[in-house]
């Protein structure tokens, strides 16, 4: 199941997670996680809430002990000072100390690193330029997220952990966060981000690891995961009723939303020739491949079935 990423095989491996298991009070939260991190790669850990994404990050940050297995980052144990000096982390933080300004927060965190990023560059990347003198208590949710992002990057880390970075951000802020991530990647920073937004994983990552119930269920590039399902979607307008469409041999599923029918088929060509053969009138036709979201639902669905069996 382990597929090697296209661009990263030649790159340096900076972290290795081997057969990691973790249980809390007999509840298995992570089981047999194997994962490698490469230099300059964006790795998205994708999964529904409670899948174990944050637990996985916390093991890599050394905050959680392992029940089994091993993690090594830059050749050191997670949580040790040599590792901490090379990483930055954006965690899910509910609040920051109220009465410090953005500037004070950033400059303090910069002091923790030997070669921090230039202060103005941090402000620019995180989009905090106009509000550097505001107290953190006056920041909106999205601004707080940007400040946490700034704190994660201000030390010029080689490896950046972003736990649900775009939660609470509006679409503009999210887009600028994505640009910032692209830019850091271009500079050679490795980034591990968790998200439950498929679009985010799709847009940003070189590689996606899908986890569910503490296990890796798929691993690969966004395209590879999408291609694992061969279902196509056929969309059109038509005056016929849904029964005659369901009657078509190659159609797996049919649904109607407003004026449009949406068919799912494993062989779009055959479905189309059937439609034309039956002289069904159609207009405004589109055929699309599966979205990552569909892959995700399908894979999670399969998981549930195998679990039940």
């Amino acid at each position: 199941m382990s597929t090697h990423p296209r661009n990263t095989t030649s790159r340096q491996c900076i972290g290795k997670i081997t057969q990691v298991c973790k249980s809390f009070n007999d509840k298995q939260v992570l089981s047999n996680i194997d994962l490698a991190l490469y230099q300059g790669e964006v790795l998205a850990v994708l999964g529904p809430n409670g899948a174990g994404k944050t637990t996985l990050i916390n093991t890599m940050l050394g905050k959680i002990s392992l029940s089994k297995g091993e993690i090594s980052l830059f050749g050191h144990e997670p949580g040790s000072m040599p590792v901490k000096r090379q990483i930055g982390a954006m965690l899910q933080v509910a609040g920051l100390p109220d009465m410090s300004t953005i500037k004070e927060h950033i400059q303090l965190f910069q002091a923790y690193y030997a070669n921090p990023m230039d202060y103005n560059k941090v402000l620019e990347i995180a989009g905090l330029k106009e509000i550097e003198n505001q107290y953190s208590k006056n920041l909106s949710g999205g601004q707080k997220q940007r400040l946490l992002f700034a704190l994660a990057i201000c030390g010029n880390p080689k490896l950046l952990f972003l736990d649900e970075p775009s939660v609470g951000m509006d679409i503009t802020a999210r887009k600028s966060l994505w640009r910032a991530i692209e830019m850091l990647r271009a500079q050679g920073t490795s980034i591990l981000l968790t998200t439950h937004y498929l679009e985010e994983a799709d847009q940003l990552s070189d590689r996606i690891v899908m986890i569910n119930r503490g296990r890796i269920v798929r691993e690969g590039t966004s395209d590879e995961i999408k291609s694992q399902i061969n279902t196509k979607k056929i969309r059109f307008k038509s005056p016929v009723d849904i029964q005659s469409l369901l009657a078509l041999e190659s159609v797996d599923k049919a649904s109607k939303t407003s004026n449009y029918y949406e068919l799912e088929s494993k062989c779009a060509e055959k479905t189309l020739s059937e439609i034309i053969g039956k002289q069904i009138i159609i207009e405004d036709l589109t055929v699309t491949g599966a979205a990552l979201e569909d892959a995700f639902e399908l894979i999670n669905g399969q998981e549930k079935i195998t679990e039940a069996a």
Binding site: I64, K84, R85, A94, L96, P97
Partner: protein, 255 residues
């Protein structure tokens, strides 16, 4: 790994910046600075000066015990409540994951406690000298100042442990529930020999009692127990709570 990774940041710079950030932050938080500064001063003015039962000795005695009461406050609250709240927010976790040396976190809060303690002590001295007619030799003022400020250290350790074990929502109330009765039972609000015999016995296990006795020795107002006894009790408390704090801090899989 290249050399950049092995470079170390300037530790002294971190200590200074951390302490500065922490202190300015709390000075801007009136909910912290006003009660911690005002309570000991208000109590002393009422009970030590305005309603003083014995103007010859009471202003001096209570200046000393309210100074003990005063320096314990910032120690218990900046550590106890401060850490509990930051833990509740997840901010403490972020600091823990960052390359901040743990010592910087502790030193910044100790310096903050020292600054608040020094201000409280100086204000109490001024009120005592000006309005209470307290007259002491220069060496007595100086010794008292250092006993008070350094005496806050065992309470920093107690506060740190409270901060690491308490929930953020209950921390302020719990710390007050420890702070106020402990102050009263240690004879900080009225002279210890005014309290019933049983309570005087009980005070022996309370650290503020021992710090107060140590300070009262400077003006010959103590009960006459040896210095070593008071110092040892304070040291045992400090050590015990440092161990407890370390135990909680080093425990992984918190919450």
């Amino acid at each position: 790994m290249n050399s950049q990774a092995l470079d170390k940041p300037n530790l002294l710079n971190i200590y200074l910046l951390e302490a500065k950030t922490e202190t300015t932050r709390l000075l801007r938080t009136p909910g912290f600075s006003i009660p911690t500064l005002l309570f000991p001063i208000m109590f002393y003015t009422f009970f030590g000066i305005i309603f003083s039962m014995n103007p010859a000795t009471m202003p001096t005695y209570l200046m000393i015990t309210y100074a003990v009461f005063g320096v314990i406050g910032p120690a218990l609250f900046s550590f106890g409540v401060g850490i509990a709240i930051e833990r509740g927010q997840g901010w403490f976790d972020l600091k823990e994951v960052s390359p901040m040396p743990a010592s910087a976190y502790i030193i910044s809060r100790i310096s903050l406690t020292f600054i608040f303690a020094a201000v409280i002590v100086v204000l109490l001295f001024a009120i005592g000298a000006v309005f209470g007619g307290v007259q002491l030799m220069r060496w007595q003022w100086i010794s008292l100042f250092f006993i008070f400020v350094l005496g806050s250290l065992p309470f920093c350790a107690i506060g740190m442990t409270l901060g690491l074990y308490l929930k953020s929502s209950s921390a302020p109330a719990t710390v007050n529930l420890i702070y106020l009765p402990m102050g009263f039972l240690s004879g900080l609000w009225m002279p210890i020999n005014f309290l019933p015999e049983v309570m005087q016995q009980f005070a022996n296990i309370l650290p503020p009692y021992h710090l107060a006795q140590l300070a009262l020795k400077i003006t010959n107002m103590d009960l006459g127990f040896p210095v070593v006894l008071h110092l040892s009790v304070l040291a045992v408390y400090a050590l015990l709570f440092i161990v407890l704090a370390l135990k909680s801090y080093n425990k992984k899989d918190k919450q």
